[in-house]
């Protein structure tokens, strides 16, 4: 005889697993601070590399001018422009990515809590069926 409650819970869990995959359980191994910091760092690295590539494209575009006026170019101004633009990019990256990943963590945490609730319900059903001997009331077990 099929236990309808069990099938309902297992279907919900399978649906969550299929939708979010293992990423959500991997992410929840981190504390909030570590999660946000690691992702913000990843964003910073990507945008730094993109900035350097873009800078290289700009230099490549103006290579003729640079080679002809190598001695007279005001490198200080160029350096300051680069520095300030990178600082602005850095600030925006940190701000936007921090907000985004904080929200994402909260969302994934809520989804995972619902998933673990289903796991506990399933464990209770197994216990009632006589297939589980552990104390199912222990939190986090």
């Amino acid at each position: 005889m099929v236990n309808e409650d069990k099938v309902r819970i297992m279907t919900a869990m399978a649906r969550e697993e299929k939708k979010y995959g293992s990423e959500i359980t991997e992410n929840m191994q981190f504390f909030k601070k570590d999660y946000v910091r690691s992702h913000v760092l990843a964003v910073l690295w990507s945008y730094t590399i993109a900035y350097l590539l873009l800078f290289f494209l700009i230099i490549f575009y103006n290579i003729n001018y640079i080679l002809l006026n190598f001695v007279v170019i005001d490198y200080l101004t160029v350096g300051m422009v680069m520095l300030f633009s990178y600082a602005l990019l850095f600030f925006l990256c940190v701000l936007i990515s921090r907000i985004h990943y904080l929200e994402k963590y909260e969302n994934e945490h809520r989804i995972l809590e619902e998933y673990y609730d289903n796991v506990l319900k399933l464990k209770k059903i197994y216990a009632e069926d006589g297939k589980e001997t552990e104390d199912v009331n222990t939190a986090g077990n």
Binding site: A50, F56, L57, Y61, I63
Partner: protein, 357 residues
């Protein structure tokens, strides 16, 4: 309309049955179409501009994860450009790398939107995308859509510069960039497509009946009017006849996609109001159009044989002829000789037959 719903139902059941195989085939087809479109648009490298090359690349991309198609397509384009200009190939590679680090790395799924714009444009149907994104996505989809438009126009400018130049030098890079920045059609396409996507999105989100259908048709109209307006004032050389045909086909295609995705029955709309401890709810429930095709299977049940075999009071030895006469008379006297037809789904009939066995 019901025929279309039946076809949709059949296709959905067919897909569910053979999903594993069909997914591979569809991925292969998508990859093949992408490489075919690239050869059609660029096609500089004669070693790559063959059907078997497209087939090989498509087959290889199926083996790897889905996201690898974007990487293969980027490599394919760079190899084409490398055949005619090393400088431009290098610049294009850096351009794609920047695109990856800034956007695609964080939202890989939008990479397909970026890829679909050049592919659809190569077949002359870029107008599908803004309406489709307005129906299926948020206004934020404007970003990958715009990137796709920029990539397509950049490639078009690369083709035009390479076709007219005689030497491979850094001047090609200057020319391509200048042409791209001065390309009126690029800016017009960006503005028009963004407006259409947002417009379609707001119409389909409104609380009116047939909002999806109205959004698709009005999106097509708006797209037409804006592009014709721009063509008149900015002189961007649109082939008007071809434009109208493509627009009509694009609207029809998006309507078909919407039918397969979500078909609603506005005749059965229910407006409900209820409350709980925290909120008062105004709910509008629109039922979906679900139709199951009745597979009619006619079975005839004749009861007079049953009556005869169970009549213990009679001890009759009958020939077949007498049998028939008896049957006929039984039908007339007792009204047991009846025929009726039953229409059941195949599934029900199979279940009944299994239980009888």
């Amino acid at each position: 309309m019901s025929i279309l719903l039946e076809i949709r139902d059949y296709i959905q059941k067919f897909y569910q049955k053979y999903a594993a195989v069909l997914n591979v085939i569809l991925r292969f087809l998508a990859a093949f179409i992408t490489f075919f479109a690239t050869n059609r648009v660029i096609g500089f490298n004669p070693y790559l501009d063959h059907t078997y090359t497209e087939l090989v690349f498509a087959a290889v991309s199926v083996v790897f994860p889905v996201q690898i198609l974007l990487f293969f397509e980027a490599v394919f384009i760079i190899l084409h450009i490398l055949y005619v200009s090393h400088y431009l190939a290098f610049v294009t590679a850096i351009f794609f790398a920047i695109l990856y680090f800034v956007y695609v790395r964080f939202i890989p799924k939008d990479g397909y939107v970026i890829l679909s714009m050049p592919v659809l444009s190569s077949f002359g149907a870029p107008y599908i995308l803004p309406i489709l994104l307005g129906i299926t996505a948020d206004p934020i989809a404007i970003i990958p859509e715009s990137i796709g438009v920029i990539v397509y126009h950049y490639l078009q400018n690369v083709i035009s510069v390479v076709s007219t130049s005689t030497e491979d030098s850094i001047n090609l890079y200057h020319l391509v960039l200048k042409q791209t920045f001065n390309d009126k059609e690029l800016y017009i396409t960006l503005i028009v497509f963004s407006i259409v996507t947002i417009f379609v999105y707001f119409i389909r989100n409104s609380k009116i009946d047939y909002s999806f259908e109205i959004a698709i048709i009005s999106g097509g109209f708006l797209n037409t009017i804006l592009l014709l307006f721009m063509n008149f004032f900015m002189d961007i050389n649109i082939n008007v006849f071809r434009f109208f045909i493509t627009m009509i086909l694009s609207v029809a295609f998006v309507w078909l996609v919407q039918l397969f995705r979500l078909s609603l029955n506005y005749a059965g709309v229910e407006n409900l109001q209820f409350e709980d401890d925290e909120y008062y709810y105004y709910v509008r429930a629109v039922p979906k159009n679900n139709i199951t095709k009745a597979d009619k299977n006619v079975k005839r049940y004749n009861a007079h044989n049953f009556i005869r075999h169970h009549d213990d009071s009679q001890n009759i030895t009958e020939t077949n002829k007498e049998n028939e006469e008896h049957n006929d008379s039984a039908g007339e006297d007792f009204d047991h000789n009846f025929d009726f037809t039953v229409s059941l789904d195949d599934e029900y009939i199979n279940n009944i037959e299994k239980k009888e066995k």
